[in-house]
Symmetry: C2
Subunit: 568 residues, 2 copies
């Protein structure tokens, strides 16, 4: 502290001075020339005449605070925090508020601890909100159940902010005991929200219960109502859910102070090709959002939403998390400083790529299921099949009814009508359940695809045109220790190994992306017209998103929140 103050006063040289730059001041929404003195990981002072051991000429470019992703599941990048960090930083993200919800569903507290340990000391600040709803519901078998007490045990970690997206809206608003125990345990701390379509009195009750933010709005009216009720609103532009442009009309100069950006879920290709918060700012600016306001949303507003006083602005005593862009309109990240250290040079990660030493034995080998042949046969019955109808680009599925294609007394896939067989297989070593059903909309003409990413319980999912391909794909996923696979008959066509909890690769993001590309090519070869059939497959099992889903326990009618027969 004494050193920081001496530099700020100008009585001691800074470690580094950035000069020839235009500072975007998010407190006042001004842009003006300045020099920034940095010592250790802090901004010491802003002004002129600061002496330093090292000086960087920023060529007249714009200096912004490091960008903050207000809500992301790192697991969705299919990579470890270390690999994710390199790409996030290259896009100007210096802080993420992450919810290790996926790995918690597989590994419980061990999974959360792994994410904390695996992000320790990274140049990216990984701040954690604790998964509030594991499992999503009792209608599927997850790897762990997290009660309030387990969460409280983790709450003292210096990088834990509070409770992550509180998805149990009925529990919260009806004061159900388990939900209330969690909300009460974190009263006065951060409680992030998740309230898709929750409006009117339900919204009032939800906000009264404690959540302070929400990222699930899909219409401008929903944004406005949530802002009015006191929620911070995060505009989401993920891979699956892309809401940003539709929501922008809700913003006014007056209400934007309580709006920020979040990714929620972004896949490797989107992270690499588009970016993260920088992409959202760029998109917004192109659509008419004031650039300085976009910067405020990407920085100060997110920091304020979580009560973070040490970042979100370029100011004395705050972290020297800094982003340099050529111009505010293009919003192309050129340099990034994380805690005072330059980690991105000309848009590419150039920082220290070592990461923490982490014991991974608790999060590897999580596919606790034999690679034995599974009997996927479904005896044909009278009546129509209840079929999960997948719509492009939507997580919400439809409840469809179709006559079965019967063969030797069995209901089988019918690729002419795009009726594929689907199975969800419990993989946590608990029940060995196999849920069977049919899905329409993935468009495979032959073969099968399978994976160990199956929201939220992350059981194994396989979808195929025939049982042999399904068994081949499934066995390959199990033998790989988790991942995605495409198969045809007895042959595996491609695979993406995800050995960490069956959710994350241990390879760099570029490798993950290349493996994913091979998988997508294989799926195309199998006839799927979708760009990525693996994503809708991974959400087939999410029994809290309407309307019809398949878990290891069977077909779930989400609105009735109960298991239903395959036959109507």
């Amino acid at each position: 502290m004494a050193k920081l103050l001496a530099v700020a006063r100008g009585d001691a040289p800074a470690d580094l001075v950035l000069f020839n730059l235009k500072l975007v001041n998010v407190f006042t929404a001004e842009v003006y020339p300045a020099e920034v003195a940095i010592v250790d990981q802090w901004v010491a002072g802003i002004g002129s005449g600061y002496q330093a051991e090292s000086r960087h000429d920023l060529g007249g470019r714009y200096l912004l605070p490091g960008l903050i992703d207000a809500h992301i599941h790192i697991e969705s990048s299919l990579s470890t925090p270390k690999a994710f960090a390199r790409v996030a930083l290259a896009h100007g993200t210096t802080t993420v508020i992450t919810d290790p919800h996926e790995i918690a569903n597989v590994c419980g507290v061990d999974g959360i601890r792994y994410m904390l340990e695996a992000s320790e000391g990274l140049p990216l600040s990984v701040l954690v909100n604790l998964p509030s709803c594991v499992p999503a519901s009792p209608l599927s078998t997850s790897g762990a159940v997290l009660e309030a007490a387990a969460l409280v045990d983790l709450a003292d970690h210096p990088r834990v902010l509070g409770l992550a997206e509180f998805m149990d809206v009925p529990g919260a608003t009806s004061a159900e005991a388990g939900a209330l125990a969690k909300l009460s345990a974190f009263r006065g701390r951060v409680i992030d929200g998740h309230a898709p379509g929750v409006l009117g009195k339900q919204l009032q009750a939800y906000v009264a219960g404690g959540p302070r933010a929400d990222h699930e709005s899909v219409t401008p009216a929903e944004v406005v109502e949530k802002l009015r009720a006191g929620l911070y609103v995060f505009l989401r532009q993920g891979t699956a859910a892309r809401n940003l442009l539709e929501l922008l009309p809700a913003l006014t100069p007056e209400n934007a102070r309580r709006v920020a950006f979040c990714s929620d879920d972004r896949h490797p290709a989107d992270l690499l090709d588009q970016g993260q918060v920088d992409y959202m700012a760029r998109l917004g600016i192109r659509a008419g959002l004031d650039p300085v306001r976009a910067v405020q949303m990407a920085t100060l507003n997110a920091a304020e939403a979580f009560g973070l006083l040490d970042r979100g602005a370029v100011a004395p005593g705050r972290r020297a998390d800094l982003v340099v862009v050529d111009d505010l309109e293009g919003f192309k990240v050129r340099y990034v400083y994380a805690g005072g250290v330059k980690v991105v040079e000309d848009g590419a990660f150039s920082g220290d790529s070592s990461g923490p030493e982490v014991a991974e034995y608790r999060v590897r080998n999580t596919i606790r299921r034999e690679a034995a042949v599974v009997d996927f046969s479904i005896p044909a019955e009278e009546g129509l099949l209840r079929v999960i109808g997948v719509r492009p680009g939507q997580l919400v599925t439809q409840i469809e009814s179709h006559a079965p294609r019967a063969l030797k007394g069995l209901a089988v896939a019918d690729t002419e009508r795009d009726l594929l067989k689907a199975a969800v297989l419990e993989r946590h070593g608990k029940t060995g359940n196999v849920g069977l059903g049919f899905v329409r909309g993935l468009g495979l003409l032959r073969g099968a695809i399978a994976g160990s990413v199956g929201h939220d319980s992350h059981n194994l999912i396989v979808v195929g045109a025939d049982d042999i391909s399904m068994n081949t794909a499934l066995a390959a996923v199990i033998e790989t220790g988790g991942g995605f696979v495409a198969a045809l008959g007895g042959h595996m066509l491609a695979r993406l190994p995800l050995p960490i909890a069956g959710l994350m690769s241990d390879q760099p993001l570029s490798t993950v992306r290349a493996q994913m590309d091979e998988l997508l090519a294989a799926a195309l070869e199998l006839g799927s017209p979708l760009h990525d059939p693996f994503m809708p497959m991974a959400f087939l099992s999410l029994e809290v998103i309407p309307f019809l889903k398949l878990t290891d326990r069977g077909l779930v009618d989400v609105e009735r929140m109960q298991l239903v027969s395959l036959w109507t």
Copy 2:
């Protein structure tokens, strides 16, 4: 909580519903019709169709969040928290962030505990920042010295936010050990600031040290520079320092989110006649400030500055601290609800006027000095007198030089040149010091005035035209147990008793004001042309405000921070 949620959902009746109102939504800066459901001390929900046991028709008036005074010394109202609360509430203030700095200088930790106990359970929320700089300097003798450890002991009180205005700017920016110990002890909590005229690199160092807010700006440029550096700025309109109108030009729609209002010090007459935050909003609006922005500054912005999530807006789960005004332009407070209970009816306090039972023995009888005749004689020397020059409406004094009026070898007052004798007498039972000097600018033509309010150490101060009147006034203050007195010769003309720490009356504010009016009339009779000569007298001893001051230890040259001779 279950009850709150049931009311919010509309499943249980509220205690009270307010209807026929226009809600000022400070999150979105919108004004629209709404109904507000209240249960216990909380707002449960906002909408329509809420059932309730009681319903209040607000006659189409405007409903605002309760106003927040971001920084005030309650002692300056010369009354106890309970008496102050009645008047504050009548003016729409439902929360004050108070710094018990004055009583702490007299009674130390006991004084702070008294303020906490005396404000317990009041309808006014009294939140406390702990005095950070007691005493102001070693150049005067205060009743107590507060080190970091004593402050930390108080920090866990539920109504203590953090550290109050950190006045020791040199200590903070130069990383002096005592200052750093306090700043470090409260790192991550609220640290309020006090940095008059601190700009440039000093300001950068000050902000880097931890303070998050400042209320000492006197020019728009100072406001802008402080906002840019990341400080919240409180526009002050006190009794002594009235900065609001001069500072308003600094505000923009973009930077106003980090600006709030504060009183700092407001005297009884101003509180009663003008008001508090309502007065500042009214003044601002009359000068062109957008009314809704004024409401944001008076509520949400102040709450955000201190990280208060339970107030500052009318929203579910927040305190039902609510203010009703007839119109936003006039900003006349008609009704006030504090924690859901109506406490102001037609602009007058109508709430529960009982207060907490408080043991006062630790804060009474604090004038530890005999009422013995004091020898005020000053031997005449060669050369000129160093005289404290008081300017109307300013706390900053000038260093003047005047030839003494010598009588029988003594330097005496000379009312023709407005040279009055002044004395500051240690009253904490420590040294018995008597500091002597001369002051110009108070304008008494005869007699003397005296008081036990003498910033910041609150020793006794007496100013007069002759030694007999001075001794009469002084003796009366001591016999009264503290207060203000005017005297002529052997006669006391008027007095205002301040038995609590020599700073506060135990009477209602209206009584205090009537007694003060008598005092002012007496001062007028003694020839002073000033509206209130007691206020500049009370600041004669504040040795941290430039340029020349008088403490019990003698004359202080503030810029050199040392004692100087009476003679040049």
